[in-house]
Amino acid sequence: MRRVLAGLFVAGLLLVPAAAADPPSPGVTHVEVPPGTAAVDWGTQLFGANCVTCHGPHGKGIFSPVRGAGDQTGLGPSLSGVGARAADFYLRTGYMPLDDPHNQPHRSRVLFSDRELAALVAYVASLQPGPPVPMPHPERGKLAEGQEQFTEHCAGCHQIVAAGGYVTNAVAPPLDKATPVEIAEAVRIGPYLMPRFSDEHVSDAQLDSIIRYVTYAKHPDDRGGWALGHLGPVPEGLVTWFIGIALLVATCTVVGRRLHS
């Protein structure tokens, strides 16, 4: 009991400062700037401290491996013209910074504060004119159209209720944590191996519907009862064979015994 109390006390001590001051997370380099510094300038410094090893000076990209700061091998695409849209997506999802440029980026904890993030996005957007962060309106979308469009363009990889799946050499992530803005960004950018869908291909109105459907699919209305993780026919078949048929055999055995006795 004592030990538990002591443990709780220590945990409390650790939590109090976190709640009070919200210190910058380790893992990325935070840059102190005097108050009143323009976001783009702060972003420049943050970029220099965290991103330049892979994306190169002025975000021009590094196309053959270069030994950079901290003994890291730098290799990364150019950021010219990607605009605030891509920067916002990759940073807000925690896709960037990436440990190893050969890895697939995946959703992880965001290590920059909101203001640092905005500064970095402003810097990347200032490199070259590029698309802004989109403002989707999922409430204007139609659920049925969303499902249709999602089935046609997205479900092949992300699975019909956006539970995620595989492509050869990559993982199509589940979309349960994706916000409407992130979905709108991803559709237009095509992060990592995902295809890109322009507004001629998927209109803004259709995109609103898709976002509405993905939001719905986080908690779909399972008319059939137990959804088995929405994984489709394979687990359903397993349940049928191993549970359903076992129950049937058991019932037959009981009925047979009764007839005999």
Binding site: L75, Y166, V167, G190, Y192, R196, S198, E200, H201
Partner: protein, 326 residues
């Protein structure tokens, strides 16, 4: 005198019986004959034969509405009639007797008993041969019904239908809504589904996947140098493994570290290299995805420049023997 009469009756009775029952008494008690039940069994076998025979008949006519449902109904009824006939036989026509203990099959005498039990069980039947014939008829019809779907495995002798596609030189590519594709509208890093203009889209050879690469990325096989104008490539959308629709396009964001652009089938992850003529990179597919040669006409629209590089759709036993085009 009484003994004499008894003896005469016994001798007459013995003479009337079949010789094999001469020496021993019956194991299974004789039952009364039931012609009514026999008629019912004959009728049920007849119905089963009709239903079983209906399956290939329904299968043969594609024009029948709800064909699949009727096939299922006919097959299900055929099974139901056969089982009903078996139930009537066992309940009404075969003499049953409970025995204590288990059959011992080791001793030759006991085996003989079992044989006799089986023989005697059937001797209530008055029209044995007719019943056996009816049962055989039902079984044959049911067997034919079960074998019928084999015809769907495809043509055996004349495979030319497997090569038939609606694509030939000059056919325009249109989208789902029937609008023509302009070459300039095809973007990189994404994929489009295209169909032949004025043709049945349900045909195996109809749907295409259209993608665009940078012309310098192309590594097409010899002889396909002009098949991808401005880097626009068209492939059959049907996987060469099991015939699923190819719905996945993976495209690298940053080529130095990411896998190369490929079309992926969602069923078994067969992966086809779009830059290199649909070559198989991974998965169970045994041959490349058929490529369709394209041209851009004077108004900038995409048109086919010929037929596919190989047979479209899932592979079959003779696919390599028959070569690319018949």
């Amino acid at each position: 005198m009484r003994w004499l009469i008894a003896l005469v009756v016994l001798v007459l009775g013995r003479l009337r019986r079949r010789p094999r029952l001469d020496s021993e008494e019956r194991i299974v008690p004789p039952g009364t004959r039931d012609r009514h039940a026999e008629n019912v069994v004959l009728g049920l076998f007849g119905c089963a034969t009709l239903c079983g025979g209906a399956v290939p008949a329904i299968y043969a006519f594609d024009s029948i509405p709800n064909q699949t449902q009727f096939l299922g109904l006919a097959l299900g009824l055929a099974f139901a009639f056969v089982s009903a006939a078996c139930i009537v036989i066992s309940k009404r026509l075969v003499v049953t007797e409970e025995i204590e203990g288990e059959y011992g099959l080791s001793h030759p005498d006991e085996q003989e008993d079992v044989k006799r039990i089986v023989d005697e069980s059937g001797d209530r039947l008055t029209r044995k041969r007719l019943l056996v014939l009816a049962g055989a008829g039902a079984g044959t019809a049911l067997g034919a019904a079960l074998i019928t779907p084999v015809a769907s495995l495809g043509p055996v002798l004349d495979v030319s239908s497997l090569y038939r596609t609606p694509w030939r030189r000059g056919v325009r590519l249109v989208d789902e809504g029937g609008r023509a594709f302009l070459a300039d509208d095809i973007e990189e890093d994404t994929f489009y589904t295209a169909y032949p203009e004025h043709a049945d889209r349900e045909q195996m050879g109809a749907p295409l996947v259209v993608v665009r690469l940078k012309p310098e990325q192309l590594q097409l096989p010899d002889g396909r140098r002009h098949w991808a104008p401005d880097g626009i490539l068209a492939y059959s959308k049907i996987c060469t493994h099991a015939g699923c629709a190819i719905a996945l396009y993976r495209k690298p964001t940053f080529t130095p570290v990411e896998p190369k652009p490929a079309l992926v089938c969602p069923c078994h992850y067969s992966t086809f290299d779009v830059a290199n003529g649909g070559d198989v990179l991974f998965g169970p597919a045994g041959r490349p995805l058929p490529q369709l040669p394209l041209t851009i006409d004077s108004s900038g629209e995409l048109r086919a420049a010929g037929n596919f590089s190989g047979p479209v759709g899932p592979s079959w036993w003779g696919v390599r023997r028959h070569g690319p085009r018949s």
